[in-house]
């Protein structure tokens, strides 16, 4: 396998795929969600997916607002439920490419049930979970992925809860494709998202994003540049090998394709059981 990220930026212009009337977008300065959105659009462009045949389903929160900027069929649904909406949409319209954009609170807290069952069910769609460790839009409250001891507006004395590892959760729930990447690695993230698209079934990608304005500052994690660099430094790409490099990067988050297994896609499976619904 070629490990080099495929650089094709020569002609890719994200502005061609955005609803430019809405710009500048609402995200805070230095928000990693912008880079994640670029990686998504770049991957779609490289995969030749028509914006007409794409459906982007978002939840609520900072991540949920990204859909509005994509010039495609976009759905801004209710808090935690985008996977449920997307399941209905993907089953009713298998001709559409369904992408779900969700956040750590949206996907792991209020929508946790939908996530595990989407992983288990394996309906063909791609779920991108933007993990910035915080509920940004509501004012910086603790989320299921906030690191222990970190300060948020609802943990003024530090967070006492452990972190939810979304990728391990997805894997345990049976997801056939699980991946993780940091926003700073835009071309690598783009390649990961492309692989997720290629997977026939439910694919889950956790994107480590940064919230400088209301999380990073409060925890003295530096400005966006420091945050994204330290996120990158705290990861261990899959190509490094898991065991060999562990001594050099202890306690670091593995990135890249973490799980890829052959599973029959839900719709195909259902049709194979009784293709015409004969009694």
């Amino acid at each position: 396998m070629n490990m080099e990220p495929h650089i094709s930026a020569e002609e890719f212009d994200i502005r061609q795929f955005m609803r430019l009337d809405l710009f500048p977008h609402f995200l805070c300065p230095g928000c990693g969600h912008g880079m994640a959105l670029r990686a998504l659009m770049w991957a779609l462009w490289e995969q030749n997916i028509s914006m007409d045949k794409l459906a982007v389903v978002c939840g609520i929160g900072c991540s949920g607002r990204l859909g509005a900027y994509i010039d495609s069929n976009t759905f801004h649904t209710t808090h935690g439920r985008p996977l449920a909406y997307a399941t209905g949409l993907a089953l009713a319209r298998p001709d559409l490419h369904v992408v779900v954009i969700t956040g750590d609170g949206d996907c792991l807290a209020i929508g946790g049930n939908h996530l595990i069952h989407a992983c288990r069910r394996n309906v063909n769609m791609t779920c991108l979970m933007l993990n910035n460790e915080v509920y940004g839009m509501t004012g910086g409250q603790v989320s299921p992925t906030t690191s222990p001891t970190r300060y948020t507006t609802t943990t003024p004395y530090g967070n006492a809860e452990p972190v939810f590892d979304a990728c391990k959760l997805a894997e345990a729930a049976g997801a056939g494709f699980v991946g993780r990447e940091v926003t700073m690695q835009v071309p690598t993230l783009k390649d990961l998202i492309k692989q997720a698209f290629d997977y026939d079934g439910f694919s889950f990608v956790e994107i480590i994003s940064d919230c400088t304005e209301i999380f990073g500052r409060k925890n003295q994690l530096g400005e966006s540049a420091e945050m994204i660099m330290s996120q990158k430094a705290s990861t261990r790409p899959d190509s490094y090998g898991t065991r060999v490099d562990e001594p050099f990067r202890p306690n670091s988050l593995p990135t890249g394709v973490l799980v890829k297994t052959d599973r029959l896609e839900y719709r195909a499976h259902q049709q194979s059981l009784n293709p015409k619904g004969q009694k």
């Binding site: 070629n2 490990m3 080099e4 930026a9 020569e10 212009d13 994200i14 502005r15 955005m18 710009f23 500048p24 977008h25 995200l27 805070c28 300065p29 230095g30 928000c31 990693g32 969600h33 912008g34 880079m35 670029r38 700073m184 835009v186 071309p187 400088t212 400005e223 966006s224 540049a225 994204i228 790409p237 190509s239 490094y240």
Partner: protein
Amino acid sequence: MSASKTHPVTNVLVVGVGGQGVIMVSKVLALLCQRQGHEVKQSEVHGMAKRGGAVFSHIRFGKKVHSPTIPTGEADILIALEWAESMRWINQLNPETGTFISDTHKIVPPFACRNRSRNQKAVYSKETPKDVLGKVAQGYALDAVGVAAELGNERAANTILLGVMSTVLDFSVDDWLDVIAKFVPPKSIEINKKAFLYGREWVKEATIPEMNGEVEIEKAAELTNELEIIPAWCKGCDICVRMCPEHCLELDAEQKVVNARPDNCTGCRICEWLCPDFAIKLHKVPVNEKQPDAAMVEA
């Protein structure tokens, strides 16, 4: 030519960028030599795939080989899978008898191949195949990746170069193909055979001066980089300023990014990629078309 007159040794240096297949090429050669009854020693630097770094492999074969590495200036064949890498290692080649074989395909790593010091102009290798002419005894440069893509699979580029190299070494075509088939996926055996034979055919006509037609590199040298910045979209997050490897960018008094040192821009696109607000777009424009004020475009 070799370290010892009594035991003539042939030295082949394979170079490229991590992930290209340097090790595959050297393994093919090593196995082939072994099958022909030679003693083979191979020495390599690898594992640079993720880092986009330089990868090389020394292969020495003959009746008896003592040292695993090739002394500087004694390589009989330099086979490069990437153009800038061929330039990096060209001094390893024996200037009187060495054969230079390179792909003109370029891989421009944003960080790895640049001068890191402040205000240093750093660009991709400007040498063209023509420039190599006086430095080597025999040379071949071709766009193997482009040809391989036409044949149906970019990954067969290395096999084209092996085909070129096979004209210099004294092994039979069947032996080559037999070994290559051992190292490529079963599905691609056919395409690799085609690629190998293409390389052999191509050599019959090729000489370096004709390779001036490798317009890709000539064209690349004429392009310049222009940043289109939409100030209205820039939120002054400072990411691009901090991450630009050449320190080109600055925030102005209104906390909007400006390209303060446009001449240093190498077109690596880091700023474009990392801008969360999509406020920066890099344009590669021909030098003569560059507008003096085009770097700042009002939204």
